[in-house]
Amino acid sequence: MTDNQQVPFGSGMFQGQAKFVDYAHMNQQEVQVNTLDEPVMDTLLRDINMILYKLSYVIIPRMKETQGRKLRNWDLWGPLLLSLLLAMTLGINSNQSSDTIFGTIFIIMWGGSAVITVNAKLLGGQVSFFQSVCVLGYCVFPINVAAVLITFLQSYLGFFLRLIIVGAAFLWSTFSSLSFMSSMMNEEKKVISVYPIFLFYMFLSWFCIFI
């Protein structure tokens, strides 16, 4: 292995030829930045902080797009956790075929986000694929809250109370995702770019009424 290569961390294994990261010859600074070597708690805490930071943007929807600049670092951990939570909540509460429900919700969430993003792209919007999937996934958080709430207060809530809670969650989700997505859409086709998002959250929230 030659000395003149500063192999970036993590990519040592993925180069064309088999190379090993030569720890003995690295300087102290490089070792400190190596995320492969840090304690697991550090990695987890960093990711959790990132998720919570993004969730704070969902909880308090801000209309100005400039404030969301840090959200350009998309990640899919948050959407994964939220979709698992939603699918499990809805699946546990049904008496029959909970595995079908889990699978269907999961597919609707990820497939739906992908289809909405491709739709926005086809209509001429300037959307980046994973960024949009990330935003749509994070904005499912209010629907999650409504599902968990209805699960715990099941016997106390009649049909109309559930409708109100789920309706509020749906409006919250749609509003906060619109505050990010609408700036990326094509100006003259905004309604038909935004309608699928509306349909997507309506679909997911409707299941919560029937828990």
Partner: protein, 235 residues
């Protein structure tokens, strides 16, 4: 508005690049052509509509006796309508079929999720599979209707089901059968009247083949609708 200007210059640049590429490598054209339908750019021209266009096209389907639809979409068939009208229908079927089965007194009820995959399969196979079959048959028989126009025509004919699905909430059997029959008549007439102009150029037997395919698929769609999704609910 900045995005609009950026779009145009991007498109111009792309067009220039494409023309220069074509001049340079003619031999590679076939290779990129065979997989072109897998790229996003291939489908972009078919999403060139605004909400007013969509509303106009949907309104056109509710008046089946005016053979205007093909003129409406001539030169600009869109795929947005077929895809999202069917997605809306899937949601409505799930929502309303489950609402129908709610009974306040019963304790142990849960929602039927099997409507979602069933509705998805049914609607998308009929909305996209039938036009493929129709277009192939029509090409074979010599009718000059482009593939995407057939998809557009068929997809928009599904919009008759939108109000019907909402009305299917009511429990009255006779009413349900009435509106199903009305929906079947409306959408079949819409399709046949709009295809008539193209079909008149053919001989009688060939015309009836195409009309037969159309009517059979519509019949199966509406029967499936009634018998599977909105069947009789025992009180």
């Amino acid at each position: 508005m900045d995005f609009g200007i950026q779009n145009q210059t991007d498109e111009q640049q792309q067009a220039n690049k494409e023309s220069s590429n074509q001049n340079v490598n003619e031999g590679n054209k076939k290779q990129s052509g065979c997989c072109a339908f897998l790229t996003v750019e291939f489908y972009t021209p078919y999403f060139n509509v605004t909400e007013n266009d969509v509303i106009q096209r949907i309104q056109g389907t509710f008046l089946p006796l005016k053979p205007d639809f093909l003129n409406l979409i001539r030169g600009n068939p869109d795929l947005w309508g077929p895809i999202w009208i069917n997605a809306t229908l899937i949601f409505m079927i799930t929502a309303i079929a489950n609402l129908r089965q709610i009974d306040e007194e019963k304790e142990n009820q849960s929602f039927v999720i099997s409507y979602v995959p069933q509705a998805t399969a049914l609607l998308y196979i009929i909305a996209f599979g039938t036009p493929i079959v129709l277009a192939a048959v029509m090409k074979f028989l010599g009718v000059d209707l482009s593939f995407f126009q057939t998809i557009c025509l068929y997809g928009y004919s599904m919009s008759t089901l939108l109000p019907i699905t909402i009305l299917c909430y009511f429990q009255n059997e006779l009413f349900l059968w009435l509106i199903i029959v009305y929906g079947f008549a409306n959408s079949s007439l819409f399709l046949i009247v709009n295809l008539k102009e193209e079909l008149d150029k053919l001989q009688i037997q060939k015309k009836y083949i195409i009309i037969g395919i159309v009517v059979t698929m519509q019949l199966s769609l509406y029967l499936f609708y009634k018998l599977v999704f909105f069947s009789y609910v025992t009180e």
